[in-house]
C-alpha cells in the first residue's frame, strides 16, 4: 500500500492545469477527491509520474442555477450536493444517490466530477447522469467541448475524454416539475460498490407515463442506459405488465461479471429487482 514516486502539482487555474497536462502527456493524471485514484496508486495499479491536483481551482467549484438547469463544477463534493437545497428541490435524485456513496467522511472529499469522469462502472453518479441526460464540459488545449453523458462511457475506465482534457462542469437539465425519480442500490455494506443499482426518472401525465429514463450501475463495464426499459414504460399507467416489460428490457442489457458480490444470475436478478423498486418508488413520488 505504498505508491510509487510521483511529482505533485497544484495549479491555481484551469489554464495552468491544462498546460501541465499538455506538458506531461500520459505521464500525468488529474486528481479530484482522490478516492478512486489514490487507492489505485497505493496498490501500484496506477503509477502516474505527475499528479495534477485540482483542488485549488476555484472555477471548478460550485452549483449554479441557470434556470433551465444546473451547472455543477467538477470539484463540487458529494456533501455539497447533499447540502444544496436548490438542487434537491429541483432534482432530488442527486441527493438520494450521493447519500448512497461511501460514508460521510468520503463524501466530504469525493467529487461529482471525479465520480463521473473516472469511468469506473462501480461509481454511482454516471447512471444518474445517464438518466438525467446530463452534458459534460471538457476543457483541453483546443478549448472546451460538450459531451453527452449518454455517449461518454466506452468501457471500464475508458471514456470520450481525450488525453490532456479536464472534465470541468456537469450540466444537468431540470426534470419537469412533478417528475418522480429514485435511485435504488443494493450493496453489502457502507462503502461498497453496488451489487446492482438502478436510477429511474419519469413523468406522469393524465395517469399515463409521459417520459421515463432508466439506467443501471455496476452490471456492465460501464453504467448502462436502458433506453428500451424507459420506452416500455412510456404510455403505460405503470401497471405490472409495463413494469415487467421494463424490468425485462433492463435486465436484458445487464452483463455483470461474477465477483465476490455474487454470481452472474444473482446480480442480473438483483438488477431487475432494483429497476422494479426504482420504478415503483419514482411512480409514487411523481405527481
Amino acid at each position: 500500500m505504498i505508491p510509487a514516486a510521483f511529482d505533485y502539482h497544484r495549479p491555481a487555474s484551469l489554464d495552468d492545469a491544462v498546460k501541465l497536462l499538455a506538458q506531461y502527456g500520459d505521464e500525468a493524471r488529474v486528481v479530484a477527491g482522490g478516492h478512486s485514484l489514490i487507492p489505485m496508486m497505493k496498490l501500484r495499479l496506477a503509477q502516474p509520474g505527475h499528479l495534477v491536483d485540482l483542488q485549488d481551482i476555484a472555477a471548478l467549484k460550485g452549483i449554479k442555477d441557470t434556470g433551465a438547469g444546473f451547472e455543477i463544477g467538477a470539484m463540487t463534493t458529494q456533501r455539497e450536493i447533499i447540502q444544496s437545497a436548490a438542487l434537491t428541490a429541483a432534482c432530488p435524485i442527486l441527493k438520494e444517490a450521493a447519500e448512497q456513496i461511501a460514508d460521510p467522511q468520503i463524501r466530504y472529499c469525493g467529487t461529482l466530477g471525479g465520480n463521473v469522469a473516472n469511468g469506473d462502472p462501480g461509481n454511482d453518479m454516471p447512471a444518474i447522469m445517464l438518466a438525467l441526460d446530463a452534458v459534460y464540459l471538457a476543457k483541453g488545449p483546443a478549448g472546451t467541448r460538450e459531451l453527452k453523458a449518454r455517449d461518454f462511457y466506452e468501457s471500464a475506465y475508458a471514456t470520450k475524454l481525450k488525453e490532456g482534457e479536464i472534465l470541468t462542469t456537469i450540466r444537468i437539465p431540470k426534470p419537469p416539475a412533478g417528475h418522480g425519480s429514485a435511485y435504488v442500490k443494493q450493496k453489502r455494506k457502507i462503502g461498497d460498490y453496488a451489487t446492482a443499482a438502478a436510477a429511474v426518472v419519469l413523468t406522469m401525465s393524465g395517469g399515463k407515463c409521459a417520459s421515463a429514463a432508466v439506467s443501471l450501475t455496476n452490471v456492465g463495464d460501464t453504467a448502462l442506459f436502458a433506453a428500451a426499459a424507459g420506452a416500455a414504460l412510456v404510455g403505460s399507467s405503470l401497471d405490472q405488465a409495463a413494469i415487467d416489460k421494463a424490468v425485462q428490457a433492463a435486465v436484458g442489457i445487464a452483463q455483470p461479471s461474477k465477483d465476490t458480490r455474487g454470481p452472474v444470475d444473482f446480480r442480473k436478478s438483483v438488477a431487475g429487482v432494483m429497476v422494479r423498486r426504482a420504478i415503483e418508488a419514482a411512480a409514487k413520488r411523481a405527481r
Binding site: K189, G191, Y193, T195, G262, S269, V270
Partner: protein
C-alpha cells in the same frame, strides 16, 4: 452500619470502585484522544524499514531470485532470501503446533502472499520500490485448495520438506498432505447408539475460513544493541513472554538479554498470538545491520498472510429418541490448516478444545475425530475471539440441535430444554472428557425466552409464513436460538502448555508507602481493559481504591512470566493470580495491623478497606495506614515492605454460558437479511465491571454478525485469494450493526478465587450459530435443514432459488 470514622460500609465500598463497579475505562483517556502508543508510533534513531516480496502463486517452484536491481537502488540496505537464512538455520521456524514454517520460501511457494524475500531500506517508500525490483522466476504447480480432496491419492505433494516423515507432532501421518488425526470419545459405543437410535439426523456443516482482522495490523521494531548484545523487540504480541522464550531458543541469545515489549495493541482476536516471518526477518536484519528495523504489515498482507481462523468442515450425526432425548453424537472434522500447521493451540490439543462440542447438553455417548490437512493456503487456524476451536464446536452443536429439531418436528427451544445438563449435575463430566465447573442453564434459558416473548415470536412467524404463502409479503421471518457453553481459561499446567510452557499466569503487586500500588501481570491487554478491571479485582481484595492502582503489562523486563492474553484466559488465570497476590498482601497487612493495634492476628476482621478489632469496630487500621507502617515501622518478625507475587495454576477451566436469540427478516428477492432483534444473555460468573462486559458483548456480537453474514477468505482453484481487502472482507460498520440487547445471570465458578469465568469471547462463540440458525429457520417450513455460511446476499438468494421462491 457506620464505622468509627463516620463513613458507611457502602460509602467506603463505592470509593474503592471494586468488583461490580461500572468503572470507566482508564485506558480510554489516551485512546479517545489518539494518544495511544502503538508499535508503528515507535521511532528510533537510525531505524530502517522492512518489506516483503510475496508470492503471486498458490503453489510454484522458485527457479531463480535476482536481487541485483534492488540492491543497486540507493537506500536499500539488504535483501534476505531463504539462502541467506539457511546458514543461520533460520529458514524454517517452529510453529506453535509442532510443525515448522518457512520464514522465507524455501525452493517452493505454498500459498499466495507467502514471504519470498525481505527487503530492508532507509525508508518505507524505497523498501516498497525495491520489492518491485526483485525478479523471481516461478514454475507454476497444481494447487490443493479443497481440503476434502487434500488426501486424495493423486493430490499434489505440498510439503517436500516433510517427505518420508510418517510421524507428525500428533501421531502417525498417513498421507503426504495429512497433518494429524485426533480422536476423542468412544467410537464403538457411539456407533452402537447411532445404529439403534429411533431418530438420527445427519448434516455436513462447513465453517468457512475467516480472519480476525484486528484494526491494527501486525508489526514490530527489532533493535539489536551490539555493544551489550541485548535484543529488544517491540511488537504486536499477545504473549510477550512466550515470544521471548521462543526467540531465545531459536536465536541462541540468552533469555536475559532479550526484552520483548508489547505496547498498546489495536485488537488481537488471536491474530497476534503466533510468530510471523516478519518478526524473524526484522530481528535477523537488525542483528546483521546493527540498527533498529521496523516492519509493519498493510491490510492486504494481514488478511492474506497472517493467521486465519476456522476453515472446519464438519460432518455431524446426532441420535435421539422420538421424543427428543439425545442419545449419541458423532462428529468428523476435516480441518484445513493451510500450508504449515501454525495453529495456536495448547500442545496436547491439535484441534484445540473442539471436544467441548457436546455443548450444553447431557449427551451420554460421543465420538469425535479430526483430520488436519495441508492445502495451498495461508497458515494459521487461530482462536478468533474464542478459546481454541470452541467457536467451531459451539456452531457445530447448536446447528446440529436445530437439524435434529427439524427431523423430530419439534421446536428447537424444546429440544434444547429437554437435553440441558441440569443444575444439580455440576460439576458435570462430559462424554468427551471435560469437567464443567458450574451452570444453571434452565434459569438462563427461561429468562431469555421470556425476555423476547418466544411464544409470541413463533406466533408472529406462523402468520408471516401464511402471508408469504398468500403472496402478501416477500419477506420471511427467522428465529435463531443458541445456548452455548464455552470452555476458557487455559489452563491447568497438568494438561495445558504451549511449546512446553505451562499455561499458568501471574501477578506481582507492590504497595507504595502512601497507599497506592502497581500491579504487573503476565497478560497483555489488546483492548480488553485490563488496566481497569484488574485494578478493580485488587481494590476489593486489598481495600485500596482502584484509582490508586496502576496495572502494567507487556514488558518482559518488568512483568512476571505469563502466557499472555487470548482464549478468554486473562480473567480466569491472571485475574485469579491477581486475587491470590492480593490475598498475600492482605495476610501480611493483617499481621502489621495486629502489631499496630496491639492485638492478636486472629482478633482482627477485614472490613472493606481496613482491619478492625472484632467486636470493637472503632479500633481499626485502614489499608493505607498499614501500607505506611510497612515502610516506616520496625515490626518484630515482619520484613519491611508490602509486596506479593502469585503464580496461579488453575485447577480447572471455567465454563461461561449464555442464551442468545436472533430475529431476522429475509428479503427473498435480494437475499438481504435484516437483523430485527438480537438478545444476548451471558453468564460469566462474577461480574467484575458490567460496563466492560457489555462492551465486550457488543464487540463480539458484531464479529459474530460479520462471520455469519459475510466474512470469508476464499480461494479459487488456482490458489488466488479473494476477500483480502476491506472492500470484500466484511467488517461491519455502525450502519450494518443492529442494536444489541444484553442481559445476564450469575453462576460463579466454584474454583476461581472470585468466581469469575471470562466473557471476552462468549459473544463470538455463541453469536455465530444464533445468526445462522435464524437464517436457516426462516426457510425451515419449506424443508431447509441447513445452508452454509456466510449468509451473504447471494448465498441466501441461492437458497431461496433452490426452494423455488425466486426464478
Amino acid at each position: 452500619m457506620s464505622a468509627a470514622d463516620g463513613t458507611s460500609v457502602q460509602e467506603r465500598t463505592d470509593k474503592l470502585e471494586g468488583l461490580g463497579c461500572k468503572r470507566k475505562r482508564v485506558e480510554d483517556a489516551r485512546f479517545t484522544q489518539g494518544k495511544g502508543k502503538y508499535v508503528d508510533d515507535m521511532k528510533l534513531p537510525g531505524m530502517v524499514f522492512g518489506d516483503f516480496v510475496r508470492s503471486p502463486y498458490g503453489h510454484a517452484r522458485i527457479k531463480k531470485i535476482d536481487k541485483s536491481k534492488a540492491l543497486a537502488l540507493p537506500g536499500v540496505k539488504a535483501v534476505l532470501t531463504a539462502d541467506d537464512l539457511k546458514p543461520l538455520n533460520l529458514h524454517y521456524m517452529p510453529t506453535l503446533a509442532g510443525d515448522v514454517q518457512a520464514v522465507l520460501a524455501v525452493d517452493k511457494v505454498l500459498f499466495q502472499g507467502q514471504e519470498v524475500a525481505f527487503v530492508v531500506a532507509t525508508d518505507r517508500y524505497i523498501a516498497a520500490d525495491a520489492v518491485e525490483l526483485i525478479e523471481v522466476e516461478y514454475e507454476d504447480l497444481p494447487c490443493v485448495i479443497d481440503p476434502l480432496k487434500a488426501m486424495d491419492k493423486d493430490a499434489p505433494v505440498l510439503r517436500h520438506d516433510l517427505e518420508g516423515k510418517t510421524e507428525g507432532a500428533h501421531g502417525a501421518r498417513r498421507h503426504h498432505n495429512h497433518i494429524f488425526t485426533w480422536e476423542v470419545g468412544d467410537a464403538a459405543a457411539t456407533d452402537k447408539a447411532l445404529g439403534s437410535a429411533e431418530v438420527v439426523a445427519k448434516e455436513f456443516l462447513s465453517y468457512q475460513r475467516v480472519h480476525p482482522c484486528p484494526l491494527e495490523t501486525c508489526g514490530c521494531v527489532a533493535s539489536m544493541d551490539k555493544i551489550n548484545s541485548h535484543l529488544t523487540v517491540w511488537g504486536t504480541f499477545q504473549a510477550p513472554h512466550a515470544v521471548r522464550t521462543v526467540a531465545s531458543l531459536i536465536s541462541g541469545i540468552p533469555e536475559h538479554k532479550i526484552r520483548i515489549v508489547s505496547p498498546d495493541i489495536g485488537g488481537g482476536f488471536g491474530n497476534k498470538v503466533g510468530v510471523y516471518p516478519g518478526y524473524i526477518c526484522s530481528i535477523v536484519a537488525s542483528i546483521v545491520l546493527g540498527v533498529p528495523v521496523k516492519w509493519i504489515e498493510d491490510r492486504i498482507e494481514n488478511l492474506t498472510a497472517t493467521a486465519f481462523a476456522r476453515d472446519y468442515h464438519m460432518t455431524g450425526e446426532i441420535a435421539a429418541t422420538k421424543d427428543g432425548r439425545i442419545t449419541a453424537l458423532k462428529c468428523h472434522v476435516v480441518a484445513d490448516h493451510g500450508a504449515f500447521d501454525a495453529c495456536a493451540d495448547p500442545t496436547k490439543f491439535p484441534a484445540g478444545f473442539f471436544n467441548i462440542c457436546t455443548g450444553s447438553y447431557d449427551i451420554p455417548t460421543a465420538f469425535l475425530s479430526v483430520d488436519g490437512v495441508y492445502t495451498n493456503k495461508a497458515p494459521g487456524g487461530v482462536a478468533y475471539r474464542c478459546s481454541f476451536r470452541v467457536t467451531e464446536a459451539s456452531y457445530f452443536i447448536e446447528r446440529m440441535i436445530d437439524v435434529l429439531a427439524r427431523k423430530l418436528n419439534m421446536d428447537p427451544a424444546e429440544v434444547r430444554r429437554k437435553n440441558f445438563i441440569r443444575k444439580e449435575q455440576f460439576p458435570y463430566k462430559s462424554a468427551l472428557g471435560w469437567e464443567y465447573d458450574s451452570g444453571d442453564y434452565d434459569t438462563a434459558f427461561d429468562k431469555a425466552l421470556a425476555a423476547v416473548d418466544y411464544k409470541g415470536l413463533r406466533a408472529e412467524q406462523k402468520k408471516n409464513r401464511e402471508d408469504f404463502a398468500a403472496g402478501k409479503t416477500r419477506s420471511l421471518m427467522g428465529i435463531g436460538i443458541a445456548f452455548f457453553t464455552e470452555i476458557v481459561g487455559a489452563g491447568p499446567v497438568k494438561n495445558c502448555d504451549i511449546l512446553g510452557l505451562g499455561m499458568f499466569d501471574s501477578c506481582e503487586i507492590r504497595i507504595h508507602p502512601t497507599g497506592s500500588a502497581i500491579a504487573r501481570l503476565g497478560t497483555i491487554s489488546q483492548g480488553q481493559g485490563h488496566a481497569t478491571t484488574f485494578a478493580q479485582i485488587l481494590a476489593t481484595e486489598i481495600g485500596l481504591p482502584a484509582s490508586m492502582i496502576t496495572v502494567e503489562e507487556g514488558d518482559t523486563d518488568t512483568a512476571p512470566y505469563g502466557l499472555g492474553t487470548y482464549g478468554s484466559r486473562s480473567t480466569p488465570v491472571a485475574g485469579a493470580a491477581t486475587a491470590m497476590a492480593g490475598r498475600k498482601i492482605r495476610a501480611k497487612a493483617q499481621m502489621i495491623a495486629a502489631y499496630l493495634l496491639e492485638v492478636h492476628d486472629s482478633d482482627l476482621e477485614w472490613d472493606v478497606d481496613r482491619f478492625q478489632v472484632k467486636g470493637a469496630p472503632d479500633r481499626f487500621k485502614t489499608m493505607q495506614e498499614i501500607a505506611f507502617a510497612a515502610y516506616n515501622k520496625a515490626i518484630p518478625g515482619i520484613e519491611p515492605g508490602l509486596e506479593a507475587v502469585s503464580y496461579y495454576d488453575p485447577p480447572n477451566m471455567t465454563y461461561p454460558f449464555g442464551a442468545y436469540i436472533c430475529v431476522a427478516d429475509i428479503d427473498v428477492d435480494t437475499g438481504v437479511t435484516a437483523i430485527r432483534r438480537f438478545y444476548a444473555l451471558d453468564d460469566c460468573g462474577t461480574r467484575i465491571n458490567p460496563m466492560i462486559i457489555e462492551g465486550q458483548v457488543h464487540g463480539g456480537l458484531t464479529e459474530a454478525l460479520a462471520i455469519a453474514m459475510g466474512q470469508e477468505i476464499a480461494y479459487d482453484e488456482n490458489g488466488n485469494v479473494s476477500g483480502g481487502s476491506l472492500l470484500d472482507f466484511f467488517l461491519p460498520t455502525a450502519v450494518e450493526t443492529p442494536a444489541w440487547e444484553t442481559d445476564f445471570t450469575v453462576t460463579p465458578s466454584p474454583h476461581h478465587p472470585i468466581g469469575a469465568k471470562g466473557v471476552g469471547e462468549s459473544p463470538n462463540v455463541g453469536g455465530v450459530s444464533a445468526f445462522s440458525n435464524a437464517v436457516c429457520d426462516a426457510f425451515a417450513h419449506l424443508g431447509l435443514t441447513h445452508t452454509q455460511m456466510p449468509h451473504d446476499h447471494w448465498r441466501v438468494w441461492k437458497t431461496a432459488q433452490k426452494l423455488g421462491l425466486v426464478e
